[in-house]
Symmetry: C2
Amino acid sequence: MEIRTILVEPKLDENIGAVARVMKNFGFSDLYLVNPPDIGEKAMYVASHAYDVLRACEIAGSVEEAIENSVIVAGTTSKHGISTNKHLRMPFFSLQQLKEKVEGIRTGGILSILFGSEDTGLKNEVLMLCDIVVCIPTSPSYPVMNLSHAVAVVLYELSEVDGGMAAASGAIKLASVEAKERLFMHVKTFLDEIGYKEHKKEKTLLMLRRILGRAELTVREVQTLRGILRKAEWKVQMENFYKD
Amino acid sequence: MEIRTILVEPKLDENIGAVARVMKNFGFSDLYLVNPPDIGEKAMYVASHAYDVLRACEIAGSVEEAIENSVIVAGTTSKHGISTNKHLRMPFFSLQQLKEKVEGIRTGGILSILFGSEDTGLKNEVLMLCDIVVCIPTSPSYPVMNLSHAVAVVLYELSEVDGGMAAASGAIKLASVEAKERLFMHVKTFLDEIGYKEHKKEKTLLMLRRILGRAELTVREVQTLRGILRKAEWKVQMENFYKD
């Protein structure tokens, strides 16, 4: 699905700039503004390298105009105390549920996400236009988020950008069970070679196994550790040689 | 685990204020600043109701001082092109992996999360002090996030605040299979009553079942729908009565 970010009557143009920036960070560009203030230098400055997103934004005179052609309209809120009687705020989705819903829809189309103004949030008449209402879970002691922070969190959750994570984790090969087993055998031999106390050996080996297990060793790290052991073994043997 | 947010040499005091705000939004309060600028009115204004977090922040002269007593030190980066050879940026965690790691540690203690300055991010000498490096997945066309946005996304992922979501979803009872079945039988009867064409009925009922199935009806909504049906049936019967 395409994701459209709609700011409904934002008050501060710097927030609009900040929203443009975080949209580009997460790979989005479809920005609509409903009755925004004048967008000045401050917004451009805050948008930074996302001035293209800011420049290409659409200005709408009403929410109805902004959500045109949308397949789903989602309103965002961080308000508490939703009751079953208030159909207005129902159905009530978490961000994960919204993400699952979006992933489940294979037909494509536009998902419009509405964010209210800094002071009032989305008004009831706007919430009435929404198919679903999404809540960002925040602390009761201070539930009201900064506008661009709210957008950041929602778009982070919906982003399909993986930031090269897949490539990076593909490049990093974890060591096989066999390679790790050979490392442990090497460690065991080494403990013998340095004359480690027999009655302590088993426990120590288990501990090392746990530590190295938790560390999720890569192929390269196992190689390096075995290199260190070989180097140490060689030193120990030389030592023994001179001692003898 | 306790989570400590550490800003390493932030440049703009308004970003510090924005970080304080989002920390409080997600239920955190432990803020450390390493060599920050003077914190002026702008920061207090942006922090808004999180002035308490801002006021209680600790100023440290070095990263070493700020991470003292931490059990895990995590550095954040949005940089790409991590290679296996760069041990500096290894092991390399996604935010979800960091969250799983934190949840897996039952012994408690402080998890320190480091965020670099607006222009350079975390420098290599700071990354060397980190146990793990966490990457926020961002678009290659604009990977560099605003400082407070990066904090927002990381703390959102690690937050245990549920914003009353559990209570709200507990209050909203989904309709049982039986209640929905009774609703469908009611609809079926109604179609008969309004003289819906026999050869279309089966398909239409299936379609209605799918639509209402997708809608995840609550107990209350099923009641309301049946109320509408009863009202309509009554009207239809009156109609038939006068017609006869």
